[in-house]
Symmetry: C2
Subunit: 504 residues, 2 copies
């Protein structure tokens, strides 16, 4: 049977998209190496190699030939549903990529290099003012970018959309406003109660034993070591070159075992998602990980809902005691469980507990929003930052290093990125809600060390779809509701009421 | 001062060549990862990623824009000498690349995949006949390739030229014929003498201690760990992404320490060369490692002339005894020196000693030459192979696995590659000869652990030139002679006469 014109075009489209994915994944390999094994003097050459590949990828992603092919396919009436959706989503990406003038791309790259260098220097000297001019330049460019990309209501919407398609300030507001209030309330109640004793978590735990524990935990949650690996890096991350080659990294503090445990489970959650994407759709939207919010909903689900639950540790705590008897042999499971869920306001986002973490995020969101929508001057950031930390977290920011200089994101031009962390947790709670209903013996299974039913459910309902559906669509399909704060609020209230003995 | 047209063209040429180098080096990163860290299921996707990059590189290397630029530059009269030579060499490469029809490139890739698969299977079943049809196809294609590339005297010349520019069968003959005779003679004398006792070299040596020794040895010969690293792989190799990022690998047998030691020094020799290339010429012929023969002359010089010399171990043997007292504390240096230079004919090329190694190579050369120049049928290879091993090495090849199926090279279509190994050793002996004359206290320095004068000499006389000169030109410039067998013959005769107490 001869192939139809549409089939031929679709095959050509698939080949082009796969070649593009191959170049992007080659970049990911170079970046992974950069974070794990690159010798120090090799950094500059690596940067240039990445620039060349980025230019090639940009060229391939915006070629007129691809544009014509996409248009022909959009005009075809005989595309099957998934294929049509792939083409539509690729067309969206194509149009977006075409909007960027070369001059802006170049200016953003330069601003980002400058910002990063100045950020490093400002951290060294612990002075925000050294970073301020570079950040001002970056914000100016991001405003231009928002104008070029376009938006309906507010310029910040255009930047949110870059990190999470279709996300708007208005949606974020409906989640963050009640969330901020609820957390501050819950925190006030918690702070009237005695704190769990957690000194034992800071005892010495040898590097190799920690590493082995990490591998054990990853295996237990279903990470496929035939299709991926773990290495060490300064900042833990997940990257994927293909569903059959997913790399995660962890870090080890010999006097703080929890750092490794929950970074491992967190990245493991990201990795399970990447390993679960449909291989046959490689290079196409249906084969790509969905948005940052969906990705983070996977990592947070595994890290927090599962990895900080009593059921999970009912099985694994014996193993932990066996591997680190000096630390845990005299600590009962309940005490361990309370300690790993201790809530305590602090200065540094990445060290925050499951609850106050979101106040760190909402503070950053408030500042970003004002920078973009209200043209808040960059020089006012530290004052606003410190005021919000004092107000919501009741901590005094002693200096810029422990305040406004702690995150790298803005240096990269990632404005509109932070909200996806919290939205990911919110969505994780929605999945968790449905999961507990769908698998009635879920906690009993977890207490036997079996999280496979959870992974199976995620594979079937989320991973299998790649990025065919926008977050809100996927959320609606799976939970029957849009993004919703209620399950998260219920989850944290129940959990911390039980741990701290609060009366509702 | 405004730039001349030539300067502008040269800048454009440099940019194109650097972008091409960046893509090729990205491929090298992906290949390095493939051999060191790639999870098993990731192999197929990696192959596809490499194919995409290879296509992009081929496209860049053969673009008409580059061709026009090169022609304009060749017609310019105001290019400085090195720049002119860069352009001339790039033009040679360009013309060669342009000769390949896409159909042949594709057929060679397919034949190579088929050959490799069948070679694996043939090894598994220990039967050459399973590999024969695929190899026949490969040889047919290599004959076509030779015709397309063109040659003056013999088709094998075209294939030699691919691995070593300007090398011809006739040149190889003038080296290999006397070499084969001399080695067979020397071997006969050696075999009448008692063999050094070397059982102690097969004692248990723990992996980590071996690894640490390897790092120590690499540091001592001048490998810059800020501009490179070592990892483990099944087959040791060197790869470079830039002179500031050179990667080597080693392998460790816990019951054979020498495997690690001399693979480490051998790859270290390759790596010192790559680290010594001029950074400012990155991506251009003047910044690229020269031919395989030059490369091998570096690794063999370090591995054998230096790494198996008495002077070298006069310093390092104490360290070895300290690190492995169970093995070496009762073994005097002289006994160690004799043991690591034991000559014994054997079946496997990669396990051969410094002397008989070259008989393995010349056997492969004889077969290749006959396959291409005389159309020897592929099915006759095992018979010829086994006869030459019996005749020259006096060993009986028990089966194909220990004979004709041991090397992967032909599967890759690498015909004309093997001779470069031996020519590298021959050239190493020429450098060694000049080195010993140029640095009168060379052996005294080595006995103090100082090989820096050797590295300085190599950097100045060889590394600094990249591939500006063909092997014969460089050899003539540095030694005042063309490729010459005499220094190698003198070196092995002196060394083994001393070790075995032969009377000349």
């Amino acid at each position: 049977m001869p192939k139809s014109r549409t089939q031929t075009w679709y095959r050509q489209y698939v080949n082009r998209m796969r070649a593009l994915a191959n170049v992007k994944n080659a970049m990911a390999v170079l970046q992974w190496d950069q974070e794990t094994y690159l010798p120090p003097k090799g950094a500059q050459a690596r940067g240039q190699q990445l620039t060349t590949l980025a230019e090639l990828a940009h060229h391939m992603a915006t070629s007129s030939a691809l544009g014509r092919l996409l248009q022909s396919l959009l005009d075809s009436s005989d595309l099957p549903e998934t294929a049509r959706r792939n083409v539509e989503l690729s067309w969206e990406d194509y149009q977006k990529m075409k909007k960027y003038p070369t001059s802006l791309v170049k200016a953003l790259t330069e601003a980002s290099n400058r910002c990063f260098t100045d950020w490093i220097q400002a951290r060294k000297e612990n002075r925000f003012s050294l970073y301020q001019p570079a950040l001002e330049r970056m914000i100016t460019l991001k405003l231009q970018e928002a104008d070029i990309l376009g938006y309906e209501a507010l310029p910040y919407d255009a930047l949110l959309d870059q990190h999470e398609k279709k996300l708007t300030t208005s949606t974020v507001e409906t989640i963050f406003q009640p969330l901020q209030k609820a957390i501050v309330d819950l925190l006030a109640q918690i702070q009237q109660k005695p704190q769990p004793e957690d000194d034992f978590l800071y005892q010495y735990a040898p590097k190799q034993h920690q590493w082995d524990l990490g591998i054990y935990l990853l295996q237990s949650i279903g990470f496929d070591f035939e299709a991926g690996r773990q290495d060490l890096s300064e900042h833990p991350f997940t990257t994927s070159f293909h569903p059959h080659d997913v790399r995660i990294t962890t870090r080890i503090h010999e006097h703080h075992l929890p750092t490794m445990i929950w970074s491992c489970i967190h990245e493991g959650g990201h990795a399970l998602y990447e390993q679960g994407l449909p291989v046959e759709e490689y290079g196409l939207p249906a084969g790509q990980a969905n948005s940052l919010v969906i990705h983070e909903s996977q990592s947070r689900l595994w890290e927090n809902c599962i990895g900080r639950s009593l059921s999970f540790w009912q099985f694994h705590y014996l193993e932990l005691q066996k591997r680190f008897p000096e630390i845990f042999s005299t600590i009962p499971l309940q005490q361990f469980y309370r300690a790993i869920n201790k809530v305590q306001p602090s200065l540094i986002r990445t060290e925050a507990d499951e609850l106050t973490y979101h106040l760190h995020i909402i503070i950053r969101y408030e500042i970003e929003k004002k920078l973009i929508n209200e043209r808040l001057p960059v020089k006012s950031i530290p004052e606003l930052w410190n005021a919000l930390y004092a107000d919501w977290l009741q901590v005094v920011v002693p200096d810029d290093l422990h305040g406004v200089l702690q995150d790298v994101h803005w240096s990269h031009g990632s404005i509109g990125y932070f909200p996806t962390y919290t939205l990911g947790s919110v969505l994780a709670a929605q999945w968790w809600d449905v999961l507990q209903q769908s698998i009635p013996d879920l906690h009993q299974q977890m207490a036997k060390g079996n999280t496979q039913p959870i992974l199976d459910w995620l594979r079937k309902h989320i991973h299998a779809y790649g990025s065919l559906f926008h977050t809100q669509e996927l959320c609606q399909r799976v939970t029957g509701k849009p993004l919703d704060i209620a399950p998260f609020l219920q989850y944290v209230k129940e959990k911390f009421s039980q741990i701290y003995g609060l009366t509702n």
